[in-house]
Symmetry: C2
Subunit: 122 residues, 2 copies
């Protein structure tokens, strides 16, 4: 697959794919002329990368995790890192859930004509 097709099917820009490769997150073979060719699972890998980005992992972290993801076997280090990231994500999600509750309280307040609300600072 050429890079343009991967980009379209994964819903990302060509620029991003080149960037992922530069960061060591995505592999490609090259034609004799130097153009990138991708296998079928490239689209899935890009999806995974995007998802990990969205979870707050950095390129560096994802890169260090890639061997583990490829092999399905982890060194003790990578397992610790994975667990660490999951813990971070857990806390992050918890925080967001608290924020969601707060947003809900605000909405309720904004809907009931209830002047003066100390509750938003709860």
């Amino acid at each position: 697959m050429r890079i343009g097709e991967v980009a379209e099917r994964a819903g990302v820009s060509v620029r991003s794919l080149r960037y992922y490769e530069q960061q060591g997150l995505l592999e490609s073979t090259r034609t004799s002329g130097g153009q990138r060719r991708y296998g079928e699972d490239a689209v899935s890998w890009v999806g995974l990368i995007q998802q990990l980005y969205a979870a707050g992992l950095s390129s560096a972290t994802i890169r260090e995790l890639m061997p583990c993801l490829h092999a399905g076997v982890g060194t003790p280090e990578s397992r610790d890192r994975l667990r660490g990231e999951k813990a971070r994500l857990d806390e992050y999600i918890s925080g967001l859930e608290r924020t969601r509750e707060r947003l809900e309280a605000m909405i309720e307040l904004a809907e009931t004509p209830n002047p003066h609300c100390p509750v938003v600072l709860g």
Copy 2:
């Protein structure tokens, strides 16, 4: 309260407080010499601002919501905006929860010596 004390108690930098004010998110009075003075609930407001930032709201969005938060009464617009942001947050959290499950699967895979794992691309 002086800006330094607010910063310390809220756990943010002085720079951030000035930035929040510049963005119209945080009010302060000024001494005759031009220094900022804050009321007691400034710390709580800063906490709220941080929380909304963490939920992905932009300065502009928070600013437009401030009157509503202060008054406890919303215009139809601000209510819609609040509901919109909550919906966005809901989706975002759902995505993160899917990512968490995926991370859990990876951890499990990394722990069981189970060579070759197509599951990470599920």
